[in-house]
């Protein structure tokens, strides 16, 4: 394969990853890393480094529109970010100590979890419990829900649990080059009592900063190869933009199932790579 062929192939793969990801509501990183390693033969460390940079691009793009629509709970984002950023630095550091096989195994587990989380029955948000920390930090919020045509206000509970989960999401982001939204959003929604739209918006808001922390570590370490990272960043962002513009009636079950199948196949392949 020539350098041009490689670039075009990675651009195409990343575009599809960004497109599929935005249609089902996850970032592209979770598909880009398996695709780069399994299809293009890139080492997992270099694939993770390229992916984490693209995560900044997609999440910042999405965050910009959520923030201007006032759906993002910026206070909550700032508070949980402290935990995700510490986690991201931890993860980016751990990545240097874990072997390539170990990374394949951990990635396979997260892929499997993501696939499962997309097909499991949806839980019901709990009744909000009083949370002194959330009161003191004035985390409770409200936003205008366009589809309901009314202002939705909510109270935040279990802030400490949110911080703990945000740390774990940050570690997985720094370690695996993904956004980590798939870990945070269910907890923010079900345990902390935040409406799903505000969860998605706030999670996206945090992911840019989280990914920037780990990307800085990877970049300074010399792991971000311009030749690989450039087509990944451009492809994933363009794919996500296309996905967002198609969003209207496209969010249906068949796309979800295709996506789950892709995740499951990737999980098995990465598991095999790790065990070999």
């Amino acid at each position: 394969m020539t350098p041009l062929g490689f670039t075009l192939a990675v651009l195409g793969i990343s575009y599809l990853a960004g497109l599929l990801g935005s249609l089902v509501g996850v970032g592209g990183g979770i598909i880009v890393v398996p695709a780069l390693t399994l299809l293009m033969g890139v080492s997992i460390q270099k694939a993770i480094a390229a992916s984490i940079v693209s995560v900044i691009a997609t999440s910042s793009g999405a965050a910009a529109s959520y923030v201007s629509q006032r759906i993002t709970n910026m206070r909550l984002g700032m508070v949980l970010e402290v935990a995700t950023v510490i986690g991201a630095i931890t993860g980016a550091y751990l990545a240097a100590w874990i072997s390539g096989r170990g990374l394949f195994l951990i990635f396979a587990a997260v892929l499997g979890y993501t696939a499962w989380s997309m097909v499991r029955p949806k839980g019901k948000p709990r009744e909000p419990e009083p949370d002194g920390l959330a009161d003191r930090l004035r985390l409770h919020g409200s936003f205008f829900d366009r589809s309901l045509g009314q202002e939705v206000s909510y109270r935040v509970s279990k802030t400490r649990l949110g911080l703990a989960v945000s740390y774990v999401a940050g570690v997985s982001s720094g370690l695996l080059g993904i956004g980590g939204g798939v870990l945070k959003v269910p907890v923010m929604n079900l345990a902390m009592g935040i409406p799903i739209k505000a969860c998605t918006a706030t999670s996206n808001f945090m992911i840019g900063v989280t990914a920037a922390a780990s990307a800085a570590v990877y970049l300074m370490r010399g792991e971000v190869l311009p030749f690989v990272a450039a087509p990944v960043a451009v492809g994933v962002l363009l794919g996500a933009k296309t996905g967002a513009s198609l969003m209207g009636g496209m969010r249906n079950n068949s796309i979800r199932l295709v996506f789950v199948a892709v995740l499951a196949v990737s999980a098995i392949q990465m598991l095999l790579k790790g065990l070999r």
Binding site: F6, A57, S60, M74, E81, A215, A230
Partner: protein, 133 residues
């Protein structure tokens, strides 16, 4: 949120949104331009499978000193332009946090000023940590 008193909160949100949008677009433009330069200019990417192995190989690491970057930008080296784009992309969320810091400082919100300053410090630390690691 805390029923913001009209204008100031509105401008903060718009400023944050604008920074994110501009940062992403400008960095993508740099990354795209750098890629085109790498393919078209002498001294950029070579050809053949061996070159792919070199550029994307597991042993690959690229020069990451500031003088390499500035020198490369000086003579429009494609990879240096891509790296400038990558740096701008990483800096975009950092700038967003810096703007929030100013907003909380203006509102004299000490708790959030401290929280935001912590996040900013951690982000700056991550650059230093990567360098050391």
């Amino acid at each position: 949120m805390t029923a913001p008193t009209g204008k100031r909160a509105a401008t903060a949100e718009d400023a944050i949104s604008a920074i994110l949008r501009l940062g992403v677009s400008a960095s993508l433009l740099l990354i795209g331009t750098g890629s085109v330069l790498s393919f078209t200019r002498r001294g950029g990417y070579g050809s053949g499978a061996a070159e792919v192995a070199r550029l994307a190989g597991p042993g690959g690491s690229f020069p990451r000193t500031l003088s390499w970057l500035l020198g490369g930008l000086g003579h429009l080296d494609g990879q240096a332009v891509i790296v400038a784009g990558l740096l701008l992309l990483i800096a975009t969320p950092v700038m967003r946090v810096a703007v929030s810091l100013v907003v909380f400082a203006r509102e004299r919100d000490r708790v959030y000023l401290a929280i935001t300053a912590t996040v900013l410090a951690l982000l700056l630390l991550s650059f230093a940590l990567g360098r050391a690691g």
